[in-house]
């Protein structure tokens, strides 16, 4: 069954069309692979076997009678366990939601189901998507399929590992400060963080609402495009989503202007990562792209800005977990206040607690101006840096992370060093821009991703360029 697991979405689609195999066969192959390998990888928090088999059988019925059908029909995927799939557990990798069963579908799930997707299960993440290694999960540590001594990146680490470990054909993750691109880079898969507003977040457990976006993680750029096309567009249930119809376009590298931010190469980057990224830039240049050094002068403030805004929003978003309507509840507490305080104290892990405290402090009277307001001002400057840059260049090339996947437990006791991992991905989010991680080479066994950043709603440009770069690196 090895070969079924190697198929891309488009290859699987063609195979299903030609009746070379059935959706039930691919689905069973993936379920077997999960059973065989997930004891070591720990990508999945729950397997939705019954749902998957049912969806595969439904797909096979459509395939038997129709000649044309959605490219996603009958193709198995995994879903980050922060996205609601009706009737399936949704834990956000937190003890707070350990027994939570989703009462409805997220909009992206509704769309995938409409296209006939097969959902294999829910993948591990850092608790409430807070982290860069997936080690903050309350339940398990996911391993990097390329070297199990290393982390898969985070927070969508289970999603990335499931695709890299052939446990799913593609996955949906979510990105707040790098949570799709970083694990994609560490695990050697393609990951797209769409423009803020391009994809509905209805049914995504919120971390920081001015930043959160759902996006695809897949084996190839082509597959990423297929999934993005399926999930994007306006949704009445997410007021921040916009009218958006993805249109494929072919943009040649020849004559294209690629910006390279000088601040990203100043210090702290691993030598092998630097060589891989510079090689990718050179390859683009050989194809006729013009390389232009650009400046994003406020880069050095991005992490501080990001780690004020995210905890502030998170502290508000996580106020809903109070042991009253759902989630872990200390019913035996003596009064109402004790139910709140003790349910939250027992339910949240260390990182959510840290962020709730930082956020509450940053928003509190007397500190608001110095922290939150200041960060929102700096956010404007960071956004302006990118707006200025895109007056001169078509896309920006950069690393995703300063280094390849680090070792399990290496940074776990030092929250600040974890925060610094977001240095190249966080500022993109503060500006609300789309960006993709493309596997560009390997440092030893470990993959390294090239980040392609585009202007607002120019996913078409990013994807077209990424598709050409995919053949060159």
């Amino acid at each position: 069954m090895e070969s079924l697991l190697d198929l891309t979405i488009s290859q699987a689609h063609n195979g299903l069309k030609n009746k070379d195999f059935s959706s039930t066969e691919i689905t069973k192959a993936y379920l077997d692979q999960i059973k065989k390998t997930d004891g070591a990888l720990n990508s999945y928090l729950s397997i939705t076997e019954e749902l998957a088999v049912e969806q595969a059988e439904a797909a096979d019925k459509i395939i038997a009678t129709q000649k044309e059908f959605s490219p996603l029909l009958g193709v198995p995927c995994s879903i980050k366990d922060a996205i609601l799939v009706q009737g399936a557990p949704c834990t956000a990798a937190s003890k707070v939601l350990e027994n939570y069963v989703a009462p409805y579908d997220a909009t992206v799930i509704k769309k995938l189901k409409k296209d006939g997707a097969v959902i294999l299960g829910k993948t591990n993440l850092d608790e409430f998507a807070m982290g860069v290694s997936t080690e903050n999960s309350a339940f398990q540590v996911t391993k990097n399929p390329h070297d199990q001594a290393h982390v898969p990146g985070g927070s969508s680490g289970g999603s990335a590992a499931s695709v890299a470990g052939k446990q799913a054909c593609y996955s949906l993750g979510s990105d707040t400060g790098g949570s799709i691109r970083l694990p994609a880079s560490f695990c050697g898969v393609v990951g797209l963080n769409p423009t803020y507003g391009a994809v509905s977040r209805y049914g995504l457990i919120a971390l920081a609402s001015s930043l959160d976006q759902i996006g695809p993680m897949a084996k190839t750029v082509e597959d990423t495009k297929i999934v993005f096309n399926a999930i994007s567009g306006k949704d009445a249930l997410d007021a921040t989503s916009v009218e958006y119809q993805f249109e494929e376009s072919e943009i040649s590298l020849k004559g294209l202007t690629i910006g390279v931010p000088k601040e990203y190469f100043e210090k702290g980057m691993d030598k092998e990562v630097e060589a891989i990224i510079k090689n990718a830039i050179k390859k683009a240049q050989e194809q006729g792209a013009k390389i232009q050094e650009i400046s994003l002068p406020h880069t050095k403030y991005a992490i501080a800005c990001y780690y004020i805004i995210v905890p502030s929003e998170a502290s508000a978003n996580l106020a809903r977990y109070d042991g009253i309507k759902y989630g872990l509840s200390k019913q035996e507490s003596k009064d109402l206040l004790s139910v709140y305080v003790q349910s939250r104290g027992e339910g949240f892990g260390a990182e959510p607690k840290r962020r709730i405290l930082v956020g509450t402090h940053a928003l509190s009277s007397g500190y608001y101006d110095a922290y939150y307001k200041k960060a929102q001002e700096v956010r404007g400057l960071i956004r302006q840096d990118f707006i200025n840059a895109f007056k001169k260049v078509d896309v920006i090339f950069s690393p995703v992370s300063p280094f390849p996947a680090f070792k399990v437990a290496e940074k776990v006791d030092d929250p600040l060093s974890m925060y610094l991992v977001d240095v190249y991905t966080g500022s993109v989010k503060l500006a609300g821009l789309p960006a993709l991680s493309l596997p560009a080479g390997k440092a030893g066994k470990l993959p390294v991703g090239l980040q392609i950043i585009g202007n607002y709603f120019e996913e078409n440009k990013i994807l077209s360029i990424a598709q050409q770069m995919e053949k060159l690196v």
């Binding site: 939250r344 260390a350 607690k353 840290r354 929102q376 821009l433």
Partner: protein, 95 residues
Amino acid sequence: MISKDQVKHIAKLARLELTEKETEKMQHDLSAILDYFNVLKKVKSQKIKTTEKTVELEKVTREDKVGEKHPGEAGDLLRLAPSTKDGYIKVKNIF
């Protein structure tokens, strides 16, 4: 350096119970994190407006109409509540 009493005060505002050990660890972590934020003091941003949104949005309104719900949704939601009575979520006395 933030004091232990400050950590306890913030935790109280956040309705979050912390053990003694957690309070000590958070005192250390928060101090390091808040120190790091000092880098922002170097930015001259007084003339800059705050940015809450990155993509321009018109005011989004809708008709005040009940949308479609799948059958049994109310029941599914209630089943998630730790304590219910007669189709309502039951909470402890406030006074």
